[in-house]
Amino acid sequence: MSSLEDRPERQYQSGSSGIWLIGWKRLKQDRIAVVSLLIVALFMFVIVLSALGLIANKWDDQVGVSYASPGFLGKVENTEALSAEAALKELAVPKDAQIVDLSSLDPLNDVMPEVNARAKQLLLVDHVKTETLPFGGDKWGRDIIAKTIKGAQSSVLVGFASAFIAVFLGTLLGALAGYYGRWVNDLLEWVYNVFTSIPNLLLILAFAAVFNKRGLLTVIMILGVTGWTGVYRLIRAEYLKHVNREYVKAAEAIGASHFRRMFVHILPNVSHIVLVNLSLLVVGFIKAEVILSYLGFGVPVDMTSWGTMLQEAQNELVIGKWWQFAAAAFLSMAVLVTAFSLLTDALRDALDPKIK
């Protein structure tokens, strides 16, 4: 008896081959897609570790000399570092002397040697700055690799968070306009027209000018609120098409409510478009964040992102310090964005209902 009852369940499992499963199967056959997926996954893994504070949490420490050379280059002449160190020493000496002076009068005299020893140790640690770092250092001697990881964290966070907001807004408004038509459509079309009448980057800059506070949340909100229009247009067009499809009419005939038809019946049929646009927007917003941060409207000064790294890199390039530029622009950003774009392309093909 029980085996009989179980049967439909098992068949449900084995027979289930909805779009996602088919898409996944197709994706797995695409070698480029698999490689891209692995790269993206690796990046995400590193970023999650960094967000949890497990790696790169000391990116701000000045572990190397100014513009420490990349390890693979060996030791090259580093005039900037020498001059910077000289300046640092001049500063350090009088301070040290003062401490010694005061010690004789101090009531805490007996503990002082220990404190002094510690301070010396600290100073020692502070002073032993390496000449080379695996991928070089920046002006303050910060490790480029740690900085790039931290930068990736902010850039990717901005990309994903703002893409989620934009896709959510675009999908919701597009669904409402396409499904209901009439005055709902007219109203939302008006909003859409207003937003698209202003070139996107200008709109972002206008928002940036008004929300004077720099910060991750501000960037995310600005990109999200200005970026929904493309998704809106696509989803609205899809809903316009689907609302007259026979399966939706059939859903109306069986008495499904508006909400049910909109989100239970139609939404799964456009969800692949939502997904593809989400990943397109992630790529777009990562690039936009870089530009905003470069211009100084992006992440705050106490954070780093690929954009702020490129900003620093511009001047470094002229004095021949190319590694920050290479790390930010090519090794991390170009690799991640290329992998993400190729994955998006493969995803689009894999989920395309036209290709059977």
Binding site: G18, K249, I254, P268
Partner: protein
């Protein structure tokens, strides 16, 4: 046998589905097209008939189609499959021309029709444009385009579907081809237009002494037009021979089945024969009693429509809109357990009427009574109770099931909405029982619509309606998109369900033979109005209205009538 114009020998075509799967589209097909004759390639969808034709044209997609190296297509002493691209281009459009199913999409929408036809002449005969246009005008006159001189400068969308197909034909015959391949050229057209195009192709064939390869699923059309018939199924030839041989003494069970399972104007068996009957050697259903149709006074009226009218708003001018009347003042009564047939051509308003009855369109005027209540005037919560009592099965089985729902979800969704069944398990059991009722195994429960054929999908759609135990089922062209053999099965299923549950059907179709077969009462619609009504036998034997007469005269007569 007369001289051969083109010979297909041992044609095998495979399609690449993905990296390691191949699909055999055409398996070992051989046939002969004699000079000055019409050969019909008949088969249902997936039979490989169109693929074979595309192989003759050399238009198979190179990336995915693999033609077996020992296949031959001999034309003019040359194997076309081995010809180089330049040679093929020289033949295409000049010696061998082709017309397609959808004239609207097959013509380039942004180029004037005159230029499109003239292009063939300019490319193949190197004629200058003005000379080519003079010839084009003659061609348009030949294919019967009225006011041809003015229409030379028309764009495709400015012509009707029938005229577009005439333009396609003019383009095809421009270079005096020896072979015209016609791929379902009338399937997308109304029956009266189909009649005109068939007559045109037949007369051109005679006049120009060319050969025609006519690809179709419709045996009635074949019987009328073909000299030779090739019957295909699943990529194989089942039978081939002269039209007389195929129609009078079919040998293969599949051919016999195809001939028998199509409803006929002059017969009405209690149950249509289906392919399985023939493949199992069971031919009994052919000699069975006729079913009685008709309505008598004893039938109680379940649903009554009075003066139903539906206007659509069409934009006109700069700011204004004007109404377009799609359905005008239609009244009829639907008796319990009977079928009312609604027949008309595209644009007659028959589908709109069906949708308006169940409030999928908002009626402009009129009343629909059920249990003494006017359904069109009920509030939405009040109507919800009636909603499940009137259900609809749509035309396109590929569009009417939600592609993202599996069968279980499709079937349980209405139960959830209407609170049928106590829990998931009970609903699933009901779904399995209903699947059984429509002849589907319970293993289908976890599958998605794209895994089924058209006929199977239509069965699932029927099962979905049955979950709500409706009193009225509106069948909106429900069998029109199906192959004839599947059509017979679904019609039988609908009839069985009506006999079992006593449902009333409103059967909407452009197909007069099907409507005649299944209806107890028939309404003929034209331009939104009912122009004639009555019992099916009466209407088909003694049509009163001119339009009904025209419709009936346009039905392809098939072979049997031709020969007697």
């Amino acid at each position: 046998m007369s001289l051969s114009l083109l010979r297909v020998e041992n044609l095998r075509i495979q399609f690449r589905l993905d990296r390691n799967r191949l699909f055999d589209a055409v398996k070992c097909v051989s046939f002969d097209i004699p000079v000055n004759s019409t050969v019909a390639l008949v088969g249902e969808s997936g039979s490989g008939k169109t693929v074979s034709a595309m192989a003759i044209m050399g238009l198979l997609p190179k990336e995915s189609a693999l033609v077996s190296p020992d296949s031959l297509i001999i034309y003019g002493g040359q194997n076309l499959l081995r010809a180089d691209a330049g040679q093929l281009r020289g033949l295409r459009g000049k010696d061998i021309a082709m017309i397609f199913q959808e004239p609207m999409t097959s013509l380039n929408p942004v180029i004037r029709i005159g230029d499109q036809i003239a292009e063939s002449l300019m490319v193949h005969f190197r004629q200058p444009k003005d000379q080519a246009l003079v010839r084009t005008l003659e061609l348009l006159n030949e294919v019967g385009i009225p006011d041809a001189k003015r229409r030379l400068r028309f764009y495709p969308h400015e012509l009707s579907g029938g005229q577009q197909q005439r333009v396609m034909i003019a383009m095809a015959i421009a270079c005096e081809p020896k072979l015209l391949i016609a791929d379902e050229p009338t399937t997308a057209l109304d029956v009266t237009i189909q009649r005109q195009i068939l007559d045109l192709i037949a007369s051109l064939q005679l006049r120009r002494q060319m050969s025609v390869l006519f690809i179709t699923h419709d045996l009635d059309v074949v019987g009328e037009i073909a000299d030779h018939v090739v019957v295909m199924q699943n990529g194989e030839i089942k039978e081939s021979g002269t039209a007389a041989a195929i129609f009078n003494t079919p040998q293969h069970a599949y051919t016999k089945a195809l001939l028998a399972c199509r409803p006929r104007i002059d017969q009405r068996p209690a149950r249509l024969p289906v392919i399985e009957d023939f493949l199992n050697g069971n031919t009994a259903p052919i000699q069975q009693t006729e079913r009685n149709r008709g309505i008598d006074d004893a039938d109680s009226v379940l649903l009554e429509a009075k003066g139903v009218t539906k206007d659509f708003m069409v934009r006109q001018g700069v700011f204004s809109k004007r109404p377009f009347r799609a359905v005008n003042n239609v009244s009829f009564a639907l008796p319990k357990g009977k079928t009312v047939g609604l027949v008309g051509e595209s644009g007659s308003g028959k589908s709109t009427l069906g949708l308006t009855l169940m409030r999928l369109h908002t009626a402009t005027a009129g009343e629909v009574f059920m249990d003494g209540k006017n359904l069109l005037a009920l509030s939405i919560p009040q109507f919800q109770a009636y909603r499940r009592r009137i259900q609809i099965i749509f035309q396109n089985p590929y569009a009417s099931l939600n592609p993202r729902f599996n069968v279980e979800k499709i079937l349980t969704e209405p139960m959830i909405i209407h609170g049928i069944g106590l829990n998931e398990r009970e609903r699933r059991d009901m779904a399995i029982a209903l699947l059984d009722k429509v002849g589907m195994p319970s293993t289908t429960l976890g599958k998605y619509p794209h895994e089924f054929s058209g006929g199977q999908r239509q069965r699932i759609a029927i099962a979905r309606c049955l979950t709500m135990k409706p009193d009225v089922l509106i069948c909106d062209e429900s069998v029109s998109a199906l192959d004839v053999s599947i059509q017979a099965q679904v019609l039988n299923l609908l009839q069985d369900l009506q006999d079992e549950f006593g449902m009333s059907y409103l059967f909407i179709s452009h197909d007069l033979a099907v409507v005649k077969y299944i209806s107890d009462y028939v309404l003929v619609m034209q331009d939104g109005e009912v122009v004639e009504r009555g019992s099916p036998d009466e209407i088909y034997l003694r049509p009163q209205h001119a339009y009904t007469k025209q419709l009936l005269a346009a039905i392809p007569t098939g072979w049997s009538n031709n020969s007697t």
